[in-house]
């Protein structure tokens, strides 16, 4: 998942919500001010208006609907944004391209993290693009270890290595941590 997707979803919902609210309120106001018994559409002006505006108004409606459908499709497509790519392109130029396998980097990150005593198990995924790579971590850490031990290891060891491996200055990282009690060799019986 991607933070930009969340923001986009909220923006889209707000826009659609605003349009529906305005339409609904306008309809209610119009209904309140209409003389009793007037139908919603009546002979008066509606028919001649569309007759005079034909056919260009229908082309306008068609174009507008195409735009709405495309926006809807795009909105759907970006929900998949942020899923792990198979390889990240670090460089491309006349001399060739440099790709790095996402699985390989993720594997190295996970292995590096498990060297910290606070981390019991680690799993990593790369996301984003070659220029803006992102790291997703799923960690199981010792609940008795201070969080500081984990942040220090990440900020001091893992992320600098990631940055040099991916040849970038920033590697935004999101870690989801499950805390577990440390494995004890005995069980206390009460």
């Amino acid at each position: 998942m991607n933070r930009r997707t969340g923001r986009g979803n909220r923006l889209g919902l707000a826009l659609v919500g605003l349009v529906l609210t305005i339409l609904g309120v306008l309809a209610l106001i119009r209904a309140a001010s209409a003389p009793t018994g007037t139908p919603v559409v009546y002979g008066g002006a509606t028919g001649p208006f569309f007759a005079a505006a034909s056919p260009w108004i229908w082309w306008a409606v068609a174009v507008l609907s195409i735009v709405v459908a495309l926006l809807g499709l795009r909105w759907l497509v970006v929900q998949g944004r942020g899923q792990a790519p198979r390889a990240l392109r670090l460089e491309s130029g006349p001399g060739g391209v440099t790709d790095v396998s996402a699985g390989g980097v993720a594997h190295a990150v996970a292995a590096d993290l498990t060297s910290s005593p606070a981390v019991l198990r680690a799993d990593a995924d790369l996301a984003g693009t070659g220029r803006r790579p992102e790291v997703r971590l799923r960690l199981v850490t010792d609940e008795q270890a201070p969080m500081r031990a984990l942040t220090d290891h990440l900020a001091g060891v893992t992320l600098p290595r990631m940055r040099s491996a991916l040849e970038t200055d920033r590697v935004p990282t999101v870690a989801r941590v499950t805390l577990e009690p440390p494995q004890t060799p005995y069980r206390m019986v009460r």
């Binding site: 609940e143 870690a175 941590v177 009690p181």
Partner: protein, 190 residues
Amino acid sequence: MIAPVNRAADRAAVRAFRPQRTIPAVVVAVLLTLLGLAVVVETISALAGHPLRWIPYDRMLAWATTTPWRSPAFLSIAALVTLVGLALLALAVVPGRPRMVPARTGDADLIIGMRPRSFTRALAHAAEEVSGVHSATARIHGRAVAVTATTSGWDEQHFEAAVRDAVLTRMAALSPVEPYQVKVKLKEHR
């Protein structure tokens, strides 16, 4: 043991785990796409001289020409549209409960979240380490953690202070971005 306070980093961590509103976004996006496509198909086919009539628009027009503005049917449709619009606006604006307990890292590019179940379990385990406490459970209620400890003694004041201390110490080590108030409840073990 507490990471340096960096407000931008704290805000980023809280924001990262806010609900992304994926399900309402997908529903609205699908409906928008279908609506756009249906209107495009209808208008273009009618302009080409072969109206498809997937949408029964003749019947809709007939309904609109016979239904008065103030009919219950029209008013309830308008009210429904308004309510749906307001609901979408609310989904967009209300931040929602984070799915993770964000931890303080001091770095906006390093975001760590603890699973709420893990967090409360770690706090309960800390309470259980107090001698005389048989078992403990912890729950998050808004901005407070309610700890219920089963003790084998009568010195309520002592247990309450000891349990609170143990829980607060563990919580400080886990360094959540927003501190939780600790409420201790004691039960006597029989």
